[in-house]
């Protein structure tokens, strides 16, 4: 995902000298090519996230388009007031890019995880929130972000995210993607955990459970139509996310379900149960330890369909 993001940013910077890559001493060698090709459009502002975000707002008031990038935990939580007051309140054309969302930085531990960022970012006025599932989608949201005249948050996992899409597709901001059709239940997900859900959905099919998989690459604005259609067609909604179950994607979806009169649907949240991600190890290890592996998703889906 990180490389896909950087390749899109490179493309944007090549065509528009106002596009700036701003980092907070994070990104190291992955920015080498960008730095070599566009030294005037690259700023490392040191380990100071609050200054990076406030400065980006100032730069954008001059017509610059800063893409401010660092680990999501530091960006979102450390600089939240700058994001709210300097970027969103003033409706500045600043793109905030957080990496390592969910527990992608598995063994680095919870200080480096972004497991509440959807909740705290989706409540900010003016902000568009993108949460791509794989490298192809990362490229699409990055290019789309540059076209939006206003603040955008792009939440990325890290390198090595496997592809979710077998072929190219039509991307549209705020329009969720039905990756697998299905009628018994709908599994709604976002970010790099979508790949795990996809594995579960394929195996469920072999068991005779037809699960619809919907990927929300845009968290805000949320695709209301897709949610309502899934609820009406299947009657069962399972939300899977690498987030605290409070306030994240499941929160956004439940709000829509109630408002649209779909409150009677069977509804379940899968994520971190009001806790921080447990354990160290690989990304797969953490999915297992935090009950978000393929097996756990399949069990939850089976229970929903059979009970």
């Amino acid at each position: 995902m990180r490389n896909a993001y950087l390749s899109a940013l490179h493309e944007l910077a090549k065509n528009n000298a106002d596009i700036l890559a701003i980092i907070s001493d994070n990104g190291a060698i992955v920015y080498d090519k960008f730095r070599a090709d566009f030294p005037e459009q690259y700023i490392n502002c040191g380990i100071s996230e609050a200054n990076m975000v406030g400065m980006s707002a100032g730069l954008s008031s001059y017509g610059k388009i800063p893409f401010a990038y660092t680990i999501s935990n530091f960006l979102v939580y450390r600089a939240y007031e700058q994001i709210r007051n300097d970027v969103c309140l003033q409706n500045m054309n600043v793109k905030l890019v957080g990496t390592g969302v969910g527990f992608a930085y598995s063994s680095l531990g919870p200080t480096h995880h972004g497991t509440e960022d959807i909740a705290v970012m989706r409540c900010l006025p003016h902000l568009t929130v993108f949460s791509p599932a794989d490298p192809l989608e990362t490229k699409k949201v990055t290019l789309a972000a540059a076209l939006i005249k206003g603040p955008v948050y792009i939440r990325l996992a890290t390198g090595g995210t496997p592809p979710v899409y077998e072929k190219d597709y039509d991307f549209s901001v705020g329009k969720a993607v039905e990756i697998v059709p299905g009628k018994d239940l709908a599994i709604l997900s976002t970010g790099s955990i979508v790949h795990e859900v996809l594995l579960a959905v394929k195996e469920l099919r072999e068991e005779g459970i037809s699960a619809r998989l919907i990927n929300f690459h845009t968290i805000k604005p949320i695709d209301r139509e897709m949610i309502v259609a899934a609820a009406r067609a299947t009657g069962r909604i399972l939300v899977v996310e690498e987030q605290n179950i409070n306030g994240g994607l499941a929160g956004a979806i439940s709000e829509v379900l109630l408002e649209e009169g779909c409150g009677a649907v069977k509804f379940q949240r899968m994520g971190l149960n009001d806790t921080f991600a447990a354990g160290y190890g690989s990304y797969d290890d953490l999915k297992e330890m935090n009950m978000l592996s393929k097996t756990h998703i399949m069990t939850a889906a089976r229970n929903m369909v059979r009970n």
Partner: protein, 282 residues
């Protein structure tokens, strides 16, 4: 009528601005009065002599940027912007009331001439670092001036911005510190003292100068000498008196957000040369 820039005229203007501030805050029934009064002389020199700005061309990309990081002093800025013709002076009477464009803290989307929405302390300097940096990237002659409070220097984000500005050699950026030595609850030194502000900013790589923030001649001279040094951001530490111009408020911490009672309003009106008619300042 054109304003002839002389020290005498600027002093007269600053007095008029103090009257306007007092009137606006008292009649609105709320506001941070003493903080506005400590920076009035600095703002007056900035807006009537220093800044390249035009109320008839407020979006000119080459205009100088002034950012009031201590947004709670917004009324001082409003009084000046109104007097300069950025918006109709009649708006001042609506300050803080239903339907107004002039809130307790300035909003760049509502108030013509306001460059950044401020209010939460410790934000304006980073914003100003961004504008100064963008100007340099574009070879734009525009300069950035950021006014911060001394208490505001307790915010860590100020020092993040200070470090970066020096590293980036932003000599088109000037910070003015309204050093009135008081913060909301008490004297700054009694809460979290800052020691020598001058040494601190110098240690962060800034060129520093200290002035009497109420001496119009000194303020003028200092701004004329900018940048203080090439390749270094400049910091003007302006020693000021919180509540300057209303004797019983000067240097008294309790006035930070307190509103004067009728008899106090009367005393202040007499000092400022205003009239109090049936509880309304005129």
């Amino acid at each position: 009528m054109t304003f002839e820039i002389t020290t005498q005229n600027l002093k007269v203007k600053a007095k008029a601005i103090r009257r306007s501030i007092f009137k606006t805050i008292c009649n609105a029934g709320g506001g941070h009065l003493p903080t506005c009064l400590s920076m009035t002389d600095i703002l007056t020199v900035l807006y009537y002599e220093v800044l390249c700005i035009d109320p008839k061309d407020i979006r000119n990309p080459e205009r100088d940027r002034f950012i009031l990081s201590k947004g709670h002093g917004g009324v001082a800025l409003y009084a000046i912007l109104a007097d300069k013709g950025f918006f109709d002076e009649r708006h001042l009477a609506t300050h803080g009331k239903k339907g107004t464009i002039l809130g307790g803290h300035p909003d760049m989307h509502k108030v013509p001439g306001v460059e950044a929405s401020t209010g939460a302390l410790g934000h304006g300097l980073s914003f100003g670092v961004g504008t100064a940096l963008a100007a340099r990237m574009d070879a734009n002659p525009s300069r950035t001036f950021v006014l911060i409070g001394d208490g505001e220097c307790q915010e860590g984000s100020i020092w993040e911005a200070a470090l970066f500005a020096a590293q980036a050699k932003l000599d088109n950026l000037t910070v003015i510190i309204d050093h009135n030595k008081l913060q909301a609850m008490d004297k700054l030194d009694k809460i979290v003292g800052l020691g020598s502000l001058s040494e601190k900013w110098a240690a962060f790589g800034w060129s520093v100068t200290e002035i009497d923030g109420h001496d119009v001649d000194q303020i003028r001279e200092t701004f004329k000498r900018l940048p203080i040094d090439k390749d270094r951001p400049g910091c003007i530490i302006a020693h000021t008196i919180k509540g300057k111009g209303i004797s019983f408020m000067e240097n008294v911490p309790i006035w930070h957000y307190r509103q004067p009672k009728p008899e106090e309003m009367k005393m202040a009106c007499e000092e400022l040369g205003l009239r109090l008619v049936e509880g309304i300042v005129q």
